[in-house]
Symmetry: C2
Subunit: 247 residues, 2 copies
């Protein structure tokens, strides 16, 4: 169960990583080769596995190829705050801090690719395009953190849930998972509660309300936004400035 490194046959295609990088900036043929090579060195993780432990040094940096994880902090009394969901195409451990500022925990079965070789290439200036994409990725991650902070500080339960669903839809669409309305959502209501700063019961009731008002459907790990525009209005959600906003 502990995060031992076991290179394995690649089960899932590396495409989500490429799609996210391409969404951030255009990358070259040689950049793509680098990523695909990194994609050969896979690692599998079970749900609940702690890939990064808060306060510990960051061992190996990775791309997420498939599955979901969460950046979180546990409080001594058992409460936890989830800062960010980590989706396919996202990175793990790319912050510059020598010690992790948060834990990263697998929420589902997770498949990652070792990114150290890619990062070495960018550090040695052998892949300027990739370096730019990764830098932009960091900024985008920071944006997501701030968006989440606004949710927690200013929005009602109803708005928070709607806002988060829109964010997840948009992020997943970029990496080719789901379309404009439908996307995988392999989260328990407890996990949603810990992300949104709500109780499980309140998350449940809010989801009921969203269903009752025919704004979403949600069953067996798949979410459908029936009226994305209405949701955007409710949550005051504006799609992210992935390409714009960043040099």
């Amino acid at each position: 169960m502990a995060g031992r490194f076991k290179p394995r046959l690649a089960v899932w295609p590396i495409e989500p990583v490429l799609k996210r990088l391409r969404a951030l900036t255009s990358i070259s043929e040689s950049d793509e080769v680098l990523i695909r090579e990194a994609g050969e060195r896979r690692e599998q993780h079970g749900p609940g596995e702690e890939l990064i432990v808060e306060g510990q040094p960051i061992r190996r940096r990775r791309f997420v190829v498939a599955g979901w994880a969460a950046c979180q902090r546990m409080l001594p009394d058992g409460r936890r705050q989830i800062f960010r969901f980590v989706l396919p195409g996202d990175t793990i451990g790319f912050q510059d801090a020598p010690h992790a500022l948060w834990s990263v925990v697998a929420l589902t079965a997770l498949e990652t690719a070792d990114s150290e070789s890619v990062l070495a290439a960018t550090a040695e200036d052998r892949a300027p395009g990739l370096a730019r994409a990764i830098a932009k990725g960091k900024i985008h991650d920071q944006q997501l953190l701030l968006d989440h902070m606004v949710r927690l500080g200013q929005q009602t339960a109803f708005e928070r849930v709607a806002h988060l669903l829109l964010e997840l839809q948009s992020r997943l669409e970029v990496v080719g998972l789901g379309d404009g309305r439908r996307f995988p959502l392999p989260l328990t209501q407890e996990v949603l509660a810990d992300a949104l700063g709500l109780s499980i019961v309140q998350v449940n009731r809010t989801l009921q309300q969203l269903r009752r008002e025919r704004l979403i459907e949600l069953r067996s790990g798949v979410a459908i936004l029936l009226q994305p525009e209405a949701l955007s209005g409710i949550a005051d959600y504006e799609p992210p400035r992935l390409v714009s906003g960043v040099r």
Copy 2:
């Protein structure tokens, strides 16, 4: 009123900046000289002045010498979320993003020093100690952001206020403002409310309660923590890992 550059006689000493850098890592004589030289190029800002506008490019990066500011985002309906308070010794505009992720607004009269010369020196590898201190500062700022997120997501009004007061006390003590119990707090209750995700009324009632329980005193811009240990227990506050935790 707009942020025009007017070099002026330095009114406040540059010490807070030096103190914060020294708290982050030991800096050399020549580093100190660089900072003191930057400290000659002062700028004054009135309360309400927007030093950085969200989405705009970052013009001039600065050290805060005296006064308070806030990193914030405004919502279209007039709500705002304050992400972080900017105190003397802190930096403004040091994020790597080409466009600001948040606005920075002066909450009081503010005095800053131009840090571009210092940053040029670190970029050209002429001040490795300073570079390390500044990198650590960024990580520390990120920590503060995460702490604030935990406040917003997991804590009650009472805990949030206590936690924030402890954080401010600790940060101000590092830069030589206030002692272990007493520190300046030039914030209106409205500003506190926008930071803590509470209504003004609730902030007021919470402060009353803290006073009633003889945990704090608060008048004319000065806060006194009467029982810091009790507050730490209430808020589950652990003093920051400024020096530890970071390489």
